[in-house]
Point group: D2
Chain length 458, copies 4
């Protein structure tokens, strides 16, 4: 079986090696066989091939799948790709009947179909993986739901927040990621099979039957677009890039929180590594690798976008480059989620150090300015007054609540005794509008998150 009927000579070995894809697209064997079975079933139903030929082909395809899964199938790189490997084996097993499999289809619509089946599966696993990470975050948030920490902007202590509130910010990010993946799923869930090489096929096929068999909810409506569209690949990788970006932020924080200087969390021994030379070291390698692998997924996104740039219709061989970047993006994201979720779930939160940090550094200054505003002072002036007060306190090395009221009044006569009743607790409690860090709001957010994870949408 060869596609080289019109050629005068064999392909050069270097060209063969360069164009062959079996070593990576063999991964699609399951999807390829599934779509072949559906295809053959349809061909028989439509009377394009005899029913008994179809039965024989299907049985043989099933046994080929078993051979592959049991490791007895011999992949041949010289057969170019997974499709030709399977087809060749089929002909080897059942002869001429097997040569009917490729009726009314082309590798162009076939591979597009396989890729979409693969991507749909990958998206489902990805969503499950993200939820596991959300669950881990929620678990740690719930376990520490009253813990106050310094909220940071510019990595400087800014205003007190609940530790749970901080973690729930990540829950939100990952929820958006899930939404994006679900929408990507919808655009992936369109069947190209039946588009032939580029123009459709000349047989009376039943594409709706095919779609039903293969679990697609729509069929493609332009054959040239169908064989040349890889938007779904790029869209998956773009969504994965955003998820990795969120993960890079979370892991950066875990790494920083694990430093001796912060000491906010300790990574469980089961998720930490040692050093080949420094006996005292305990390193947050899972978090570092997750952060580092962000670049890898970004790279795949650039790769896929660049490869598709300026390709004329319809199929061009450049598009074979869609696979490895997608596969690796999927593997990277799934393995990162798998390793990171338990790393997060088992984090030891050092509540003492965290809450002690929350008590320093004038983090109630905004509340004091707000206090003045409520006395009628325009905010900008209040801001300036408290800035000066803070500067004074810094100079004399005192915390704000240790500064005497009389000194407060030197900066503004409106200060009264009750300014001293501004505390971490009152500060938190006051931020009680939707999305604020007030304990009651965070409690609601935790409940909502729990519901999202357990809800019907799961």
């Amino acid at each position: 079986m060869t596609l080289r009927g019109r050629f005068g000579k064999e392909m050069d070995d270097r060209a063969k090696a360069y164009t062959a894809s079996t070593h990576f697209d063999r991964r699609l064997y399951k999807h390829d066989i599934a779509s072949s079975i559906a295809h053959v079933r349809m061909l028989a139903k439509q009377g394009i091939i005899p029913e008994k030929d179809a039965e024989l082909i299907i049985m043989s395809l099933i046994s080929i799948r078993e051979e592959i899964e049991q490791g007895s199938f011999e992949f041949k790189e010289e057969l170019e790709d997974i499709h030709m490997n399977i087809e060749a084996r089929l002909v080897e097993k059942i002869g001429e009947v097997g040569a009917k499999l490729h009726t009314a289809r082309s590798r162009n619509d076939q591979v597009a179909t396989d890729m979409r089946l693969f991507t749909k599966e990958a998206i489902s696993e990805t969503v499950t993986g993200i939820k596991d990470l959300q669950r881990a975050l929620l678990h740690v948030a719930e376990d520490n739901k009253r813990l106050v920490m310094p909220g940071y902007t510019h990595m400087q202590r800014a205003q007190p927040v609940l530790f749970a509130h901080h973690l729930l910010a990540y829950f939100e990010m990952f929820q958006r990621d899930i939404e994006r993946f679900e929408q990507c799923y919808q655009r992936t869930d369109v069947m190209p099979l039946g588009s032939g090489a580029l123009a459709g096929v000349t047989y009376p096929i039943d594409r709706d039957f095919l779609a039903k068999e293969l679990g697609f909810s729509k069929v493609s409506t332009n054959s040239m677009d169908a064989v040349s569209d890889r938007d779904f690949v790029i869209e998956y990788i773009a969504a994965a890039g955003l998820t990795m970006m969120h993960i890079s932020r979370l892991t950066e924080e875990i790494i920083i929180w694990s430093t001796a200087e912060f000491g906010f969390v300790e990574i469980d021994d089961a998720f930490a590594t040692g050093s080949s030379i420094m006996p005292q070291k305990k390193n947050p390698d899972v978090a570092e690798l997750a952060r580092g692998k962000t670049g890898r997924v970004y790279g795949h996104l650039m790769s896929a976008l660049t490869t598709m740039k300026s390709l004329p219709l319809s199929y061009d061989r450049d598009m074979q480059e869609d696979k490895e970047c997608l596969f690796d993006a999927v593997d990277t994201l799934l393995s990162t989620l798998e390793a990171l979720a338990p790393t997060v779930a088992t984090l030891r939160v050092k509540a003492d150090r965290i809450s002690r940090a929350a008590e320093t550094d004038y983090m109630l200054a905004t509340d004091i300015a707000d206090y003045l505003v409520k006395k009628g002072i325009p905010f900008r002036q209040a801001h300036t007054i408290v800035s000066n007060l803070v500067r004074y306190a810094t100079d004399i090395g005192k915390a704000l609540h240790d500064v005497d009221l009389i000194d407060y009044r030197r900066f503004c006569p409106d200060f009264e005794n009750d300014v001293k009743s501004i505390t971490l607790e009152s500060s938190l409690a006051a931020r009680n509008c939707t999305g604020g860090t007030a304990p009651e709001e965070v409690e609601k957010a935790l409940a909502a998150a729990r519901k999202t994870l357990n809800g019907k949408k799961d």
Copy 2:
């Protein structure tokens, strides 16, 4: 008015110049004033500032907007950003009352709100622009709906298709782009205002009122996420990247079709350029620039993703870098759509050259193989037979329909006289399943496209 109350000295000029953003974020003046007006209205409604102060501030903000639009506003780079420029002018105009504007908000939630207002607007314009391009494509397709052209794979002539079918493939791509932008819109349509610097605010604000005033359909549910989320920026640029990729494919084809060698189309003089040195030249510069600008949008995507990588919560100044890449991505995409749509709409389609090209190069070979299959020969064997036949025809320099039947039969005895009735027309007509290039299917697709453009979703 200064934010430097606690600092001992003025900012160094180099630092000031480096951190200032007025020269690019002034573009947000309209959104900034709109959100300030809504904010002030809410502050008054909630009794946080007096009604009459609110009225004065609002009137003044409106007049500041006019100053800006009339060009009489003096932007000061040293005031750092658009927000402080407007606030400073407000205080200049109405004194102390203006200093109340910044009550119960922070630049962090303010700028996030402005950016979302801007992005929502940009998405709407983008969708309109894409539709214009779709309309141009549809126009040319309808004008040439019976024109047969060679369909290509690997840039080699493959099977005949309708020119309209080819153009409609692009219609599909752009339809997916619209869908993505609309979903991006939904995630952008969430109001961060009221999140304060990071933790919420200590005033009894009414976020639902704010959202309604500003036309947001949702309010954010975690203040830390709200001020540090730029997913919507990245998502816009990613969607723009995909759209530009589609545009790069279309323009690549226009450029190739405009070569002397293809000669399939001619660009209207109004959209072509000449040469500074070669008097005979007519160049497809709009198409080339559109293709070239693809890289620009990809670059902005990389830029935004990289900038956000590994940023700890919540706001970091790195995030100021979200603006220029978004602005330029929006401008690039909108101007490309604007220039490309009429370039496409005015293309002169050289039907003669196209249809002549469709008649050559053995493009009916697949149909002849299918012919044999229908006589009972397995497809792979039919493929080999026709490959040999094509090779023979090439060697003797004949088109397939000029080869004698007796010679056909030397390759396969099943060939009969009716093989000669396979024509471009029969080939097209046979590809009549959903998405195929048969005239009836393309007619349906044109109608569907027209409906999509005119439909309620417009």
Copy 3:
């Protein structure tokens, strides 16, 4: 003056706006005029145009340059680009004689020449800027040359190092950057002028004369390559990307060191910013922006690479996209260096906190393992012994030097009293091979750095 002689109509406004580049390439006016002057001088020398015409043109070009520099020149976007703007003004001033300027050249070789002149200049400024940053680093290193700090791997305290040693690591990075820019300079220093549109010109020009006039040390040797080569643009941006990567590492450390938790450095007030809402804040915005702008330069690299992908020879209009990404990469890098150098130079190093941090966390564990090795114990075993010792010390909450010798011996009988003489000082002093952190080595490295900065290569 128009290039549209053969066209039947004017260019559409949308196409005109889309293809015009005056708003950004006007920046090349100086280089354009310089290369025009050299060109005209050569034309006269070769007798291609009369000497007196040349004189008139040159004088007029000089006065046009003055008009531009004084702001009285009226740039017209409809004249498409800087070259046509200048040429049109020339003709306006001196009539027909001005129309001789474009003899024996094309915009293709002209713009390539301008871009190379610009890039050569940019490289020189970049190298100067990097040296300024190196000088700042060296200054801080020298001011703190005995200061011991914890050396980190995985952001965990690892082994003591000199603070100066840490800073000098950056000096090395920037030295490699300079080397790269200098090599990029050499490849940029090749003159394309005289290549015409793509094929050379039909006049007896003297390219060596041109090169000498313009300060190029080589002339290009293939006209098609000369007009279509933008390697030097990409190479500049790639080198800038690496420099920004180094800067992002340095600024990340400055940001982390400025946290309350680390407290290793304090940014000078002149290079710090405040908050619009939190009166106590002092933010390291210069460092954050520098870190954030890394993404911007990476993006430009991606942009330039993508734009050039798959462009057929020779000039294509896509290449107009080479300018804005280069200009912005240059501006970004130069402004970052300019703002960062004094930020570094004025850093307040909090020596107390740094040296105190160096005394904790078992950072001498490697030295103790090495101690055992010197007693004859294989390193891997020594590593295990000290690991166990550290674990014991952690459990009982003691520093290693506070653990009793008798306890040491429970882990290994080879421990003797002299193990207690392992100190920070002895640890540092022992690392005295080339590149090690021993004070004598660092002293040498400081001297070498000083020499590099002041050396002939400056």
Copy 4:
């Protein structure tokens, strides 16, 4: 042998799988063993370990290398990386003596050394591969050195050039690539071994000896930079990205030239592929894949740059991500060069079609304008005159040399009979300054290229 002495429990399987690198870094076995042998030799020479221990270790390392090369070595993913796999096997073979191997080094300097050894080797192979491609180009150029073709700008026929001149433009590009790789080599050729984990080592090692043994010409001068520097990885990938960009331009042209419409070249059957469905197809898959893989290398560049962004000193585990992108960039570039060189060398140049194309489309218009200039007409006016002449000729459907002289004169009275002696040949011959397409210049360029390939620098 474990690095987990201080940990209370085993590593979780998910973390182990996630952090393990054996499956890809095993590729460094040769370099790892080479550097271990040099290291041990040095340790013995310096009296740090006994000579006979060194001999035993070296012999065992050699036999381990044989085990690996013969396929009998059992790689264990749970041993984390190639270094630990080899060390563990060593200890298994020779017991306690093997545990001395890791004296005075760390995995940090070890892996940096291995990576540099690998990269140096990769660069040498890359340069050889590029030269092979240059040789193929030169071969085709020399075989067709008098062949005239249309030179293109904007893909429109512009001016006649020699086909050899066009091919030599690529020779130039690849020559620059070689230069870049050679400079990258120089920066890679610096030995980090002896830098320890980050601070140097406490043993009296001899780094110059090590460098000599391993063939490095320099030793690193700052230990922290040495273990955290991956510039050489990024620089290799950036240079590879530029080379792939050049390849994408060449292959784009090969693909376009292979279309039915251009028909300038035909790919040899040994380097072309067929279609699974269309029996007549002959596809340029090698060229398409080469073009497509450009995106892949760009992606790796983005990946490496992003991963290194913002990493604090010194080693962070993120840096493990340096390997796969480098390995794949090397493999992609080498295999592309290997497949492309013979594809180019065996191209069938269809001289008839090419030279026929050169005779059309007013490509001598520039020469005619130059003709007028030589009669004293300013170039811009000459340009306009010839534009109008071309338009006239187009309208009446004539080639310029078929237009009557009397008609020429209607556009400009300076036309005389000799305007008709402007031919392709005269046009080419006139472009005889350095780098022009005149046959004599191209002959010189061919000779220079031959010399470059055969020169001492080979």
